[in-house]
Each structure stands twice: as C-alpha cells, then as structure tokens.
C-alpha cells in the first residue's frame, strides 16, 4: 500500500471519527431543541419524534411572555456584566504590574494568585454566608457581584497580563520621555492598546459569570433577584413530565446567550486560552 493511499484511508477514518465526536457533542443540544419545539403530546412519543411533526414555538412564547422569566434573564445579564467590569477594573493594574515591573516575588505572587482559583467557591461561602448575614448583604446583588469579582479575578489577571506582554514597550517608553506618569501611561497608552484582549477577557468572564450557580443560589432568596441559572434549577424542581417541553425551552433560552457570545468571539477566546495554556 503506497503512503498516499494510506493517507487517503486515514482521511476517511478521520472524517468518520470526527462525525461520531460531533454527534456526541451535538445530540444533547439538538435533543433539547427538539423537546422545546414539541407539543406536550409529542413529548410522550420520545425519540421517534426527534424531528417534531407539529413543531410549535408556544413553549418559547409561554416563557418569554412571563415577566418573571425576563427578569431572571435581566438579573443574569446584570450580575454577569457588573461582575465582569468590576473584575477588569481590579485586575488591570495588577496585570500591568506583573507585565512591566521586575520584582523578585513576581513569579511566586502570580502563582499564588492562580492558587486561589483552585479553592472551591463553596469553601469561602461557608464563612462568607455568615458575614453577609451580619452585614445585611444577603439577598442583594451587591454582595453577589463582589464575590463574582473575587472568583474571576485570578483568571483575569493572567489573561490581561499576557495581553500586555504582547504589546511593545517602545510606545510606553516614548511617553515616559515626554514626562507622562506611570499611571498616565497605563491609562492612556497601555489600556487602549490591549482593547481586544480586554474585550475577550470580558466576554469570557461574562460567560463564566452567566454559569455561576452556587453563589447566587446561596446568597439570594427573593424570587425577583434570582439570575437565570438559579431560576431554571428552581423551575426544574417544580416541573414534571407534562412540562418537560417548557423546561427545555427555558434551558435553551438560558444557554443560547452563552453560546452566541462564545461563537462571536471564538477566535479571541481560543487565542487567549491557548496563549495561557502554552505558558502553562
């Protein structure tokens, strides 16, 4: 067998395996879509109606016309965005210091910041729950946002640091000769130059915040304050076989924003992740 035929056979095998893998990853989402488009009767027909005979958008109409559901979406978006902005504000100066200053404890400090990422939010929530109760911060978005910021700040520092590493120092040095202060350089030159890096870090953190469950689940109690992730869990607890299609629609609405945000910025996000991965 010549090497070219062998490569051709390899290509066919590659395609077959690729299709199997794609099916494994897509079918759960397609099943969700399928359920969400069915009537209650068709849900009971199982996989034979994978493609519904009488597709309907009634389930989506039902949840999206519910003001409570829109409010859950809004809360999710608000907490994710505020958490993302706050996180970047705190992380950016630290990232600048790690990139532009040379000090002996730099590497060990960077590693210890990363080590915080390994602590489960559950561990810190055990005592934080009590403090927040004392401070009256339970059941408010402020406390939740602050914890979101703390949880995502280690990753943001690393992402922004690698963005700053990627821009040449010469521009900053020119500004320094002009008499611009460090902070001025950081604000007027460094930050605008890493705009794309900031944007991808922001989107990535927003996606992670959107998925946050434990923090709002523990700290928020009134229904009007819940973000979507907690709301669909609560909804799943009260739903039964006859409302599966509505739960599927709610789930789909909860996951689509994350998927869309990811697809729009896929190149930047994958770039940021792989840059971090290569450095280990």
């Amino acid at each position: 067998m010549s090497s070219e035929t062998r490569e051709k056979l390899g290509d066919i095998a590659t395609y077959i395996i690729a299709i199997v893998i794609a099916a494994f990853f897509l079918i759960p989402l397609l099943w969700l879509l399928s359920l969400s488009l069915r009537t209650r009767q068709e849900v009971y027909l199982g996989a034979s109606r994978f493609i519904p005979k009488h597709p309907t958008i009634a389930n989506f109409e039902q949840i999206l016309s519910d003001p409570a559901f829109i409010n859950y979406l809004w809360n999710g978006l608000k907490l994710s965005a505020l958490g993302g902005i706050g996180c970047l504000i705190v992380a950016a100066p630290a990232a600048y210091a790690f990139s532009r200053f040379h000090f002996s404890s730099r590497n060990s400090l960077m590693m210890s910041i990363l080590a915080f990422q390994m602590v489960s939010p559950l561990v810190i929530l055990v005592p934080l729950y009590r403090y927040m109760a004392t401070l009256g911060l339970l059941d408010g978005h402020f406390g939740v946002t602050m914890i979101y910021i703390a949880v995502s700040v280690p990753m943001a520092v690393w992402l922004l640091k690698s963005s700053i590493d990627g821009i040449p120092k010469s521009l900053e040095e020119a500004a320094q000769i002009d008499g611009c202060s460090r902070f001025g350089i950081f604000r007027r030159i460094t930050l605008p130059l890493i705009g794309p890096g900031i944007a991808s870090a922001f989107i990535l953190i927003m996606i992670l915040n959107w998925s946050q469950f434990l923090i709002p689940f523990l700290l928020l109690s009134s229904d009007s304050k819940l973000p979507i992730s907690v709301a669909i869990f609560a909804f799943a607890g009260t739903s039964n076989a006859s409302s599966t299609q509505v739960l599927a629609a709610a789930c789909l609405v909860a996951v689509v924003p994350a998927i869309v945000a990811f697809l729009l910025l896929q190149r930047m996000i994958v770039g940021a992740l792989t840059a971090g991965a290569v450095k280990g």
């Binding site: 290509d11 611009c180 669909i232 869990f233």
Partner: protein, 313 residues
Amino acid sequence: MAMSEAALARRNEGGSRSSIWRRLEENPFSWLLPVAILLGIFYLYPIFDVLRLAFTNASLRGGEEHYTFNSFVALIANPVLPDILWTTFIFTAGSVLGQQLFGLGIAVLVMRGERRRLYGMTALRTIVLIAWVIPGIANGLIWQMLFSEAPFGAMNSVLRMLHIAPVAWLSDPGIAMISAIISNVWRGTAFSMIVLYAALKVIDVTLYEAASVDGASGWQKFRYITLPQLRPAILVNSILITIATLNTFDAIISLTGGGPGRATEVLSLYTFNTVFRNLDLAGGSVLSLLMLLISLVLAVGYASFLPRREPNE
C-alpha cells in the same frame, strides 16, 4: 500635548506630594493592592475563618460558640464519610481520565485533519467547545432529559426502538455514577482538548521528520515523540481538571441531586448539605478543610512530576 501639560501640572503641585505619588507609582505593590484587598477579604480571611470554625461548635442556627475538637472527632467517626470519599474518587478519576483521553484524541484528530487540510476541522473544534460554555446547571438538566427513565426519555426510547431493554440511567446506583461521569466528560472535554491542542501545535515538526527518516511508525511517533512532549501540558491539565471536578457541584445537584441514595453524593455536595441543610457550620468547615487539603495534595503531587525547567526557556 495633554500628557506633557498634565506632567507639568503635577510638577507644579509641589515637590513632596509628587514625589510620594511617584514612589507609589513606581512600586509594583501599589498596583497589586486592589487585587490583594479583594482576595484578602473574599479568600484569605474566609479560609482562616473556616480553619477557626472547624474548631468550634458553630451552627447556622446561632447559639453560643465555644472551641472544641468535636467536629473532627465526629468526622472521623462518621460512618458515611468513607462512602462519600469513595464516590468522590470514582467521579473524579472517571471524569479526569475520560476528559484527558477524549480531549487528547480530539486534539490529535484535529491536528491530523489540519495537516491534511481536511474540511470541517474548525467546525469540529467549535462543536466541542460549545459544550464547554453550557452552564453547569443546564448541563445537569439537559442530561437529565436525555437519561430520563420515562418511556419517552431520549436514550430509553431509542433503546426501545432497537428492541433493547431500557436502562435505569439515574435510578440504579452504579449506572447513575456512570451517567454523571458521562455528562461531566461531555462538558469538560473541551478544556482538555484546547490545552492539549495548543501543546501539540508547538511540538517541533523536525522531530517527526527525523523519526520518519529513521522509519518510525505512526504509533511509535506518538509514543516516543508526542506523549513525552505533551507531558508538562498533560500534568498541568490534570491539576486543573482534577480540582475543577472535585469542586463540581451544580452539574451533579441538577442531574441526580446526589442520589439515588448517596450514590452520587460527592464531597462538595456533602459539604453543602452539611452546612446549608443540616446547618452544621463547624462540621461543614471541617469538610471544607478536607476539600482544600485534597486539592492541595493533588496539585503538589502532580506538580512534582513536572520537569524542573523547560530546556527552551
């Protein structure tokens, strides 16, 4: 020239103040201060408090607190703990192994496809990555719909069409664990794939060319070039995904809720139940310490296998 004006203005403010400002600006630690304060309040202090609470009889019900070793004694005497740890071990080992092998397989496949310029490789990578952005809670709910044991559940209705007996995906203790691992692998594989893909990309192609000249087979190249070159990436990835899996909470609570019985009640879920269902703050703090200790031991353990320093650095 706004910048130089600003600089001049600052100089005119008076020597002492501007020199303090200057010194602050040139000190990296003042730049690190916001992160330090934040992590101090929300991580360091809570961790020390967990340590302190573990030696008390604290409860979320309130009441007088005093220091005691009782929670540690209770933990060691707890007949449930060995089961919880075993469950956690199986779930973590299964997930990490599955994500690592599957992630490596997909990364190698995508690399081969890209080398041969096949269509659809970016699409495949994207499809795998989509699962990764699904919120954990939705992940659990989606797989619950797939594993549903009702006659119209996805898996079981397919099995019925093929005339195969239905499987108790979520109500049989052994199978429920496998189901939980499958759902976790589905969501987590993308991360391993992207880490290993990035590591594969930077392997020097001349290594493979030299091996081809020496007549090495595809498997030999994989075994003697790819795997050794990937070793640091595999180890770092192991640290990250092991700890992520240990901390998994949302995907399990929404898939099985820890059941049937305690079959899928991993340590994080057990800790949660201890504190927030049984309101036993001290007992939960001891369990939190156990979680921290396990993460730390594993991270140090994996890290000790890392090469001391990369030769190309």
